[in-house]
């Protein structure tokens, strides 16, 4: 079977809100698929459908070859789910949480206990094993949550925003855990709003915006798709801005963008930077910085989904609870440019 996860035309509505408007996605067996999108894009809704927690209003999805609506029990036997909010019981200890899952999956008491101990050790929670989860840090909870989803040794794992709200250290630890899973041949579906996370972990990316797929492909493919390289020039003196902009416009055939003292154009012809440099030199304009680099995934994302805008108001479900995705903490705005890397320099 080529695809571990396969969805076609998924539609989900909550009252008048369309959470998913016909989403196609597919994850090859043994790969990491990142579903990228901002708050309210429909990521969590898609995961809930694929995890048999919600019924699609349209379209179909198969997980491990089983239809999520017709054979939910078969799907549940294959998957592990790590929710956006750590879905562990905070009234229990770490060991008790994992023991409980093991017992629910039909393990004997000793087996469930051994499995709990092994997983706690694997996720560096052994020291906190017998402490109440209430006292765990955010990173510890996520790791326990991931451990809980692995008790049954599933071959397909959903990670719904596994690092949202984590500090950078805890994030890197979780990434390592995801990589280890992928190395084991587990198919991972990861939702995230962090471009660098998708870039770091994913074999393939699906970009969701307002319930629709706006792009999909490999990280490199997406970067290429958005168009060539970024040429950035910073004049040493601000008064030269217009002159530099004129040169760039003449050569690149497009009006450069001005942001943070940088003039930026997309270029496809790599002989262009050298020509820009010659003309600037000829005009006697000193340049503080000139670089050519591939667009970052942030730029790809922003290009695909339009300029940043405030997250839409949380949609309200018919049962009165807000969708989990919409109530996510607000601090996690798209980290614009923060991760832009200079990969090549023609200067």
């Amino acid at each position: 079977m080529r695809y571990a996860i396969e969805a076609e035309g998924l539609v989900k509505r909550f009252d008048s809100t369309v959470a998913l408007a016909g989403v196609d996605l597919a994850a090859d067996t043994g790969t990491v698929l990142a579903v990228l999108g901002r708050n309210g894009a429909g990521k969590t809704t898609a995961v809930r459908i694929l995890a048999t927690l919600a019924h699609p209003d349209g379209g179909s999805a198969r997980v491990g070859g089983h239809d999520v609506v017709r054979s939910p029990d078969r799907v549940r036997r294959l998957i592990g789910l790590t929710g956006q909010y750590a879905s562990v019981d905070e009234n229990l200890t770490g060991t008790q949480n994992l023991f409980m899952i093991g017992r629910l999956l039909g393990m004997s008491r000793p087996d469930a206990h051994d499995r709990a101990t092994a997983l706690l050790a694997r996720f560096e929670l052994a020291a906190a094993a017998d402490r109440g989860v209430k006292g765990y840090s955010g990173g510890m909870r996520r790791r326990l949550d991931l451990a809980a989803s692995l008790v049954g040794d599933p071959r397909i794992i959903y990670l719904d925003e596994p690092t949202t709200g984590l500090d950078p250290h805890a994030r890197v630890e979780l990434w390592a855990a995801v990589r280890a899973l992928a190395a084991d041949g587990v198919t991972v579906l990861l939702t995230t709003q962090y471009m660098d996370e998708a870039d770091q972990l994913a074999d393939a990316i699906v970009v969701l915006d307002r319930g629709a797929v706006v792009a999909s492909g490999t990280p490199d493919g997406l970067k290429a798709e958005v168009g060539g390289q970024r040429l950035e020039v910073r004049p040493e003196r601000p008064e030269h801005r217009d002159a530099v902009a004129g040169i760039l416009a003449a050569l690149a055939g497009q009006k450069p963008e001005w942001r943070r003292n940088l003039l930026r154009v997309s270029v496809r012809d790599l002989s262009l930077p050298a020509e820009v440099l010659r003309r600037l030199d000829g005009a006697g304009i000193p340049v503080a910085e000139l670089s050519v680099r591939r667009p970052s995934l942030d730029e790809v994302f922003l290009t695909l989904t339009g300029e940043p805008r405030p997250a839409p108001e949380p949609a309200v479900r018919t049962d009165g609870t807000a969708p989990a995705e919409a109530t996510a903490p607000r601090e996690k705005t798209v980290p614009m440019g923060a991760t832009a890397s200079i990969e090549e320099s023609a200067a």
Partner: protein, 257 residues
């Protein structure tokens, strides 16, 4: 079926373990029967039994037991509704376990707590002079009857917990149902002392049959005149409530996803 049992017991364990981790939460379960005995034996009991405290104890204690069963069921819906807002329920729903397992676990856990309350009430009753006038078989039958009605009502409470929005609204609705059932029954006050219209309600009220059956089983004479009828009617209610509430609750749980 074996796996459903293991799943149900595991989830009941999950609900009870926090009480072991912090036993302070048990205080309520232990204190409630004490308060009930004091209120209905000493505060109201003396009046209804014409000042005869001993017969007041004999009359009221089985009523306290019956009432504990009714009151305990409120917790099922409240706890279940609280659980629904807990992320761990998403995990349960994504596991290959029986749909009824989380509900069964909740009902079983509350049943254990009810057992605790019943034992406590019997203990307190013993201290204030209650004596069992029958044999061990009847005592076991009385406890079984209490637990049976509690299980049946728990599924109704679970249903309420699944269709309500907040734990508080479950509490209010369940209390509004349970109060007239438990207080408007022969649990604490004999039928003959009530006005006619209330006698009618008390006669049809299943809680009256439960209280009378428990009284007949624990005390014996003179309360066992209609014992057979009371047991049959109570079991009839148990069967009817299970037949209605279990499928509806499981259906509501499925729909809640």
């Amino acid at each position: 079926m074996m796996s459903l049992a293991q799943q149900g017991f595991t989830l009941a364990w999950r609900s009870l373990v926090p009480l072991r981790n912090s036993p302070g939460q048990l205080t309520g379960y232990l204190l409630q029967p004490v308060v009930m005995v004091v209120v209905f034996v000493y505060l109201f009991g003396g009046a209804s039994a014409g000042g005869d405290r001993h017969s007041a104890v004999l009359y009221a204690l089985p009523g306290v037991l019956a009432q504990s069963a009714l009151m305990a069921t409120i917790a099922t819906g409240v706890n279940l509704n609280t659980d629904l807002h807990n992320g761990v329920f998403d995990r349960f729903r994504s596991l290959p376990i029986a749909r009824a397992a989380p509900l069964l676990g909740r009902v079983l856990a509350d049943l254990c707590l009810l057992c605790l309350s019943v034992c406590m009430a019997l203990l307190v009753g013993f201290v204030v002079g209650f004596r069992i006038g029958t044999g061990p078989v009847q005592v076991v039958a009385a406890v079984a009857l209490i637990l049976a009605i509690a299980v049946a009502l728990s599924w109704g409470s679970a249903l309420l917990g699944l269709v309500s929005r907040t734990p508080a609204s479950v509490q209010v609705t369940a209390t509004a149902v349970i109060m007239p059932l438990s207080l408007g029954s022969t649990a604490f006050i004999p039928l003959r002392e009530m006005p006619g219209w209330l006698q009618f309600w008390m006669r049809v009220n299943p809680a009256s049959h439960l209280a009378d059956a428990v009284r007949g089983l624990l005390v014996g004479r003179p309360y066992d005149a209609r014992l057979g009828t009371d047991i049959v009617v109570t079991l009839g209610w148990v069967a009817a409530m299970l037949a209605v509430f279990v499928p509806l609750a499981v259906r509501a749980y499925r729909r809640r996803i």
